[in-house]
Structures are given as structure tokens and as C-alpha cells.
């Protein structure tokens, strides 16, 4: 019997009541043009895109709206609370986002990417305000996808507060430094999933290149959320495609189960039947014989 050359199908990513065909979530910010954004979103194969809530620009009646470039039948919108520095503002912005998405009849109306920042230079989250806003939004019926640092204890607290998904940063937002502390991410994954293996942990922020995405998935993350790495690449569409492939590669590599790392080599070709002799360096005899 010939084994199938196709790998077993991966499960779709489930986040609360939402099911996503792609494990990659992409942002819609920082693109040079909205046409370029649309092409990049398509190349990423993502089905979920983040959006921000801002004042309508009253002076620009001719201005195109972002939503003219996003196919709402294809993408679930994930509104964020970016730019909020306290819990009250974050709750206020989340509710306004829900109001807009309800009108659009987009399934993303009941969830939010919660982001409560502590400082505009590092864009690191304010943990106390994040926890407070998370609890309030959960009480208000939101499914909260919570941006946080890579602190395992904070991740546990957010899950306990009712967050639908915890989204630790690999490194600061937009920094492109990748996953700076894979050990923290390992601990977060272990703590949040030990009795709840389906609980979604999504790496959000810091991705710079495709290999960062693969590493996140190989560590066991359920999803990756990124924006700048595509939008500011020299060729955003090509980078979006790379991110898609890195998602598949990293996820399959995780599911397939990697070999353990060893200190010494292991020959790929058989030792048995060799017609040549070897120097016995490995048992030290060759080294000792020089004495």
C-alpha cells in the first residue's frame, strides 16, 4: 500500500465561538496604499483581519473608507482598542467597534482585541489596566482576545478573568525582533493548556520575518497575529505569501513532532556493511595514541 503524500488535515483554529480557516491573523494598518493592502491580505490567505476605531475625518468627504477594500464575506473583522491607555477608554472603544460591526453584520461584532498600553515609547501593555478592562469587557458579553506581555503569571490571570484567548507579544509592537523569550512562551503554553489543550494562545506582535512565524507555531502557539512585518516589507505581497507558507510550515512541523536535540551526531547512512575503516576518534583512542 502506498502512503498518501498529503499530510493529515489540520484542525481549523477555534477562538471562542469563531472558527478560522487560517491560523494567521493580519493587521490592516501602515500600508502605503489600500490596493496594496487588499492584495497583501489575499496573499496571506488569512480570513481574519484587525481594524482600529478612530474619529471620522470630517474634512475628507471624498476619502475612501478602509471597508471599501475589505471583502466582508471573506474576512472576519477583529476590532482592536489600540491607542488606549486606560481601562475606561478601552471599554469605550470596544463598544464603539461592536456598534459598527453590528451594522455591518460582520461576525466579528462580539469579539475584540484588547490592548491597553502603559507607555507610548515601548507600547508595552499596562498589566493592571489590561486585567481590569478584560474583566469589564467579559462582563459586557465580549469575547476578549487579550494582548499581553510574555509574562506567564499575567497570562494565567487573564485566562482566569475570562479572556477567550491570551495573546502574548513575541517582542515589542512593530519592533520586528521576533520571539525574544521562547522559554516564557513555552511556560505560557504549558500553564494555559495543561488542563485545557484547546485554549487558544496567539503570538501577537514582534514578528519581523517568516521564520519568526514558524518558530511561534513550532513552540505550540495556535495562531500568529502580525501587521508591520508585511505592511512595511519591501514587497508586502511577497512577504504576505511567505507568512502564509511559514504558518503552514511551522504548524506542520509542530504537529509532526520534531526530533530531540542531541549533543552528538547520528549518521543517516547505515554503519553496518561499511567497506572503509574509520579513525575511532570518538572513543578517544586516536587522540590518546598521539601521546
Amino acid at each position: 500500500m502506498v502512503a498518501s503524500s498529503e499530510p493529515a488535515q489540520d484542525k481549523p483554529l477555534k477562538i471562542g465561538t469563531h472558527t478560522l480557516e487560517s491560523r494567521l491573523i493580519v493587521g490592516t494598518g501602515k500600508y502605503e496604499t489600500l490596493d496594496g493592502m487588499r492584495a497583501s491580505l489575499l496573499a496571506s490567505q488569512s480570513r481574519c483581519v484587525t481594524v482600529a476605531i478612530r474619529r471620522e475625518r470630517l474634512y475628507d468627504g471624498q476619502g475612501k473608507n478602509l471597508l471599501d477594500f475589505i471583502d466582508l464575506d471573506r474576512y472576519t473583522l477583529l476590532p482592536n482598542t489600540a491607542g488606549c491607555y486606560n481601562a475606561i477608554d478601552a471599554v469605550r472603544v470596544a463598544r464603539l467597534g461592536r456598534e459598527i460591526l453590528k451594522t455591518l453584520e460582520n461576525p466579528g461584532f462580539d469579539w475584540v482585541k484588547l490592548e491597553v498600553l502603559g507607555d507610548s515609547k515601548t507600547l508595552l501593555p499596562d498589566p493592571l489596566a489590561t486585567l481590569e478592562a478584560c474583566s469589564r469587557l467579559v462582563d459586557d458579553g465580549f469575547q476578549v482576545l487579550c494582548y499581553t506581555s510574555d509574562d506567564p503569571i499575567m497570562a494565567v490571570r487573564l485566562k482566569a478573568a475570562g479572556a477567550t484567548a491570551v495573546m502574548p507579544a513575541g517582542s515589542p509592537i512593530g519592533s520586528g525582533q521576533g520571539i525574544l523569550n521562547p522559554n516564557n512562551l513555552r511556560i505560557i503554553l504549558e500553564y494555559l493548556k495543561s488542563e485545557d489543550p484547546e485554549y487558544p494562545v496567539i503570538v501577537d506582535a514582534g514578528v519581523g520575518s517568516a521564520s519568526d512565524v514558524s518558530i511561534a507555531f513550532e513552540l505550540g502557539a495556535d495562531g500568529v497575529l502580525l501587521n508591520t512585518a508585511i505592511a512595511h516589507a519591501k514587497d508586502p505581497v511577497m512577504m504576505a505569501s511567505a507568512m502564509h507558507h511559514a504558518t503552514l510550515a511551522g504548524r506542520q512541523s509542530f504537529l509532526a513532532g520534531r526530533i530531540p536535540k542531541r549533543l552528538y551526531a547520528q549518521a543517516s547512512s547505515p554503519e553496518e556493511g561499511l567497506i572503509t575503516s574509520r579513525p575511532h576518534l570518538s572513543d578517544g583512542s586516536a587522540v590518546r595514541s598521539t601521546n
Binding site: 490592516t28 481594524v51 482600529a52
Partner: protein, 67 residues
């Protein structure tokens, strides 16, 4: 005339102006927006019956690109 804060700008409007009037005169496509009056969300189906009052703070927001 009344003076209101409309997206942070002091704006003069006639008495009796509704949220619906404000949005239409600003040329905002209401499909893509949400409205807050003095920090309370105004549901879409109440735009036409909600009149603004002196010193009201009205915010009209929409979705923009973000990460």
C-alpha cells in the same frame, strides 16, 4: 444656534439638529460609523430622533487600518 463639540471641533448648529442631520451634512457614510453622544452610544435607529443640545460632545467614529 447651539454650540457643540463635533469630533473635538467647536461647531455651531441650528436648534433641533438631529444626529442624522449632523452625519448627513458632514457627508459621512452611516453604514461604516458609530456615534457617541456625551460618552453614550446612540443606536443607529435613534439617529433621526436624537436632537443635540448645547455643549453636547458628539463623536463619530469609523474603522481604519490597524494591527
Amino acid at each position: 444656534m447651539l454650540t457643540i463639540q463635533f469630533n473635538g471641533q467647536p461647531t455651531s448648529v441650528p436648534e433641533g439638529t438631529t444626529i442624522e442631520d449632523l452625519i448627513q451634512s458632514a457627508g459621512i457614510p452611516s453604514r461604516f460609523c458609530a456615534v457617541e453622544r456625551n460618552l453614550e452610544i446612540v443606536p443607529k435607529n435613534r439617529y433621526a430622533m436624537t436632537t443635540v443640545e448645547e455643549n453636547d460632545s458628539i463623536e463619530v467614529v469609523t474603522l481604519v487600518g490597524g494591527g
